[in-house]
Amino acid sequence: MLEIRGLSASINDKPILKGIDLTVPPGEVHAIMGPNGSGKSTLAYVLSGREEYAVTGGSVTFNGHDLLTMAPEERAAAGVFLAFQAPIELPGVGNANFLRTALNAIRRAHGESELDAVQFLKLARAEAKRLAMPDDMLKRNVNVGFSGGEKKRNEVLQMAILRPKLAILDETDSGLDIDALKIVADGVNELRSPEFSALVITHHQRLLDHLVPTRVHVLAGGRIIRSGGPDLALELEARGYAGLVAEAA
């Protein structure tokens, strides 16, 4: 269970988040929607531990852990996964090696045995196949020369292999065609279980057709101004954010 209480954060002394309250119970998928610059990506980064953001108030607990005191790698070991809006390229780092290093680091943190290259490749190939990713994406350098869609799928592949308890998807749907969108949504749906929850940041209803959220929250000006069921996303699609933001003001 993720519990965010009164979370405020700034970057370069500029306040971005201004008191976020949000609870995501296990087994639920919550969508966060909102206009550009409302703080959606900042929320994702703060939850995953990006050091450039200063937390100025509030608390975040995740399955009993005080998330804000943990290093990014400790959060990952506790089950937090951020699918980046703009996945980072790592020239000189092979994708398969990267994934195996990450998986083994997390397994080590859990006191589990590490996978050798053969065991890992078997697992990775099966997951890649399920995501309709060509085998050679495992051999290439991480995200180098990948198309926008391939990068997003590579994020979902990492998620499928690392099996997080909380996935934060930061506009993973942007730049995807409809087929890729389905693949991504299926990748998340595949992980859905009573122990898994997800925070899905998106601009569009489109993804939520395939990845049906339990709750939808509207973030504007660093605060959650409205929450509702899946229908809220449809309402936003029809009316836009402007009306809602005006109502909340």
Binding site: R75, G92, A105
Partner: protein, 421 residues
């Protein structure tokens, strides 16, 4: 056995006086070199070419004469990378037949047996080349006949620290590829103790010939490794080189590449990993003297501790060398606040239709890349290590022979493990 201890320019000159009548080869050339060396001395930072690499520590060090090479000791072979190829082994600068496996197909002549100085080296302009010309005793002479693919050859320099004091040796290598010939040369330098390894290499890549030259410099961290290389590349010829600097107390890899015919190519790539108070310098002069040639140079530096990396790259384009394509890049990762890199690129272009560019980057690890790795559960130290190795791996991609690249990767990995330990 006691060896004569000598210091500074006077010491080297005294040694030449003592050896003069016993050294092989043209005495007039040696005398001229001795005179040039006497005039130039071992320059310090007031001399522009030596502004960043000051030779005064070499002048201050005491060097004994190397003793005659040890009897064959195959334990030394375990110190060098295993390459399935013929090898020429030089111990304390002298050819060692028992440790060597000379190539069957091509002509190899030790310098000691037939001492001929080539026309490319310029002792009157380079003090270390003058020192070498004055005192060179041995080296590898190789001749690859027209059209022959000579495969791969391993040239090894071992310093044994057996003289009971610092030794100085000045090997003189000459390699000539006739038109259409091919050779891949791996050069490994390693050793124990304090010594001066001052090789001069003259290479001639004939028309449409291809020379791949990879150097693994893994000298003792008390050693001076000051290597000067001259290469002439004729029409359509390719000189494709890579230098990996890991060892040495003070290191200079100086290359003078001369493109003399159309469509020639000179690739002078490299990487250096330095720690402690190590100092290593890449200096190159590429002269484009014909149209349609290309030169490429990417050097990567990983600097820790109080180490210092130097890059001086000069591209000269003659008036008639139209359509020249020249590229230079020096990249440095500074992993400690006390490490330093100095970069001095120079372009001297007299032709009007050329494409020449140079650049340099100096920095720490990329914060976004580091966060990406850590967000996947990889601990900070391991994430940093991955990024450093990736930075180098990218550089090593320039080595296209898989077996030789694997040797370099292995050396880098062992270096890195030593830093982590």
């Amino acid at each position: 056995m006691t060896a004569a201890v000598q210091t500074g320019v006077d010491g080297f000159l005294a040694r030449y006086r003592g050896l003069r009548d016993r050294l092989p080869g043209d005495r007039a050339e040696r005398d001229a070199a001795a005179e040039a060396f006497r005039r130039a001395g071992l320059p310090g930072r007031r001399v522009e070419a030596w502004k960043y690499t000051d030779l005064r520590p070499v002048a201050a060090a005491a060097f004994a004469e190397p003793l005659p090479p040890l009897a064959a000791d195959s334990a030394w072979l375990a110190r060098i990378p295993q390459l399935d190829a013929p090898r020429l082994v030089f111990v304390d600068g002298r050819y060692h037949p028992e440790l060597s496996v000379p190539p069957a197909a091509l002509r190899f002549t030790p310098f000691a047996a037939r001492a001929e100085f080539g026309k490319l080296a310029q002792p009157e302009r380079e003090p270390l080349v003058a020192l070498n010309t004055m005192l060179a005793e041995d080296g590898a002479g190789l001749h690859i006949p027209e059209g022959m693919d000579a495969g791969t050859l391993h040239l090894v320099s071992l310093a044994t620290d057996s003289a009971g004091g610092s030794t100085a040796f000045h090997p003189r290598h000459r390699i000539r590829l006739e038109p259409g010939a091919k050779l891949t040369l791996l050069e490994t330098s390693t050793g124990d103790g304090a010594y001066l390894h001052n090789p001069v290499t003259e290479m001639h890549v004939g028309k449409n010939a291809e020379l791949t030259h990879v150097r693994l410099q893994d000298e003792s961290t008390d050693a001076f490794h000051l290597a000067t290389l001259y290469v002439q590349i004729d029409e359509g010829g390719t000189y494709d080189s890579f230098v990996l600097n890991l060892g040495g107390r003070m290191v200079r890899s100086e290359v003078h590449a001369h493109l003399t015919g159309r469509n020639g190519a000179a690739h002078l790539n490299g990487a250096q990993l330095l720690t402690g108070t190590q100092h290593a310098d890449f200096t190159s002069v590429v002269r484009h003297d014909a149209p349609n040639c290309n030169s490429r140079q990417t050097v990567k530096n990983v600097l820790t501790g109080r180490s210092r990396g130097v890059f001086q790259g000069r591209i000269e384009v003659a008036r008639h060398a139209q359509k020249t394509d020249g590229y230079q890049m020096n990249q440095a990762l500074l992993l400690s606040p006390d490490a330093e890199v100095d970069t001095k690129p120079e372009l001297e272009i007299f032709a009007d239709d050329v494409k020449c560019s140079h650049g340099a980057t100096v920095g720490e690890l990329d914060a976004e890349q580091l966060f990406y790795l850590r967000s996947r559960g990889i601990p900070d130290g391991e994430a940093r290590s991955i990024l450093v190795r990736a930075f180098l791996a990218e550089g090593l991609q320039a080595v296209t022979q898989d077996n030789i690249r694997a040797i370099l990767e292995d050396s880098v990995e062992r270096w890195w493990q030593r830093q982590l330990a």
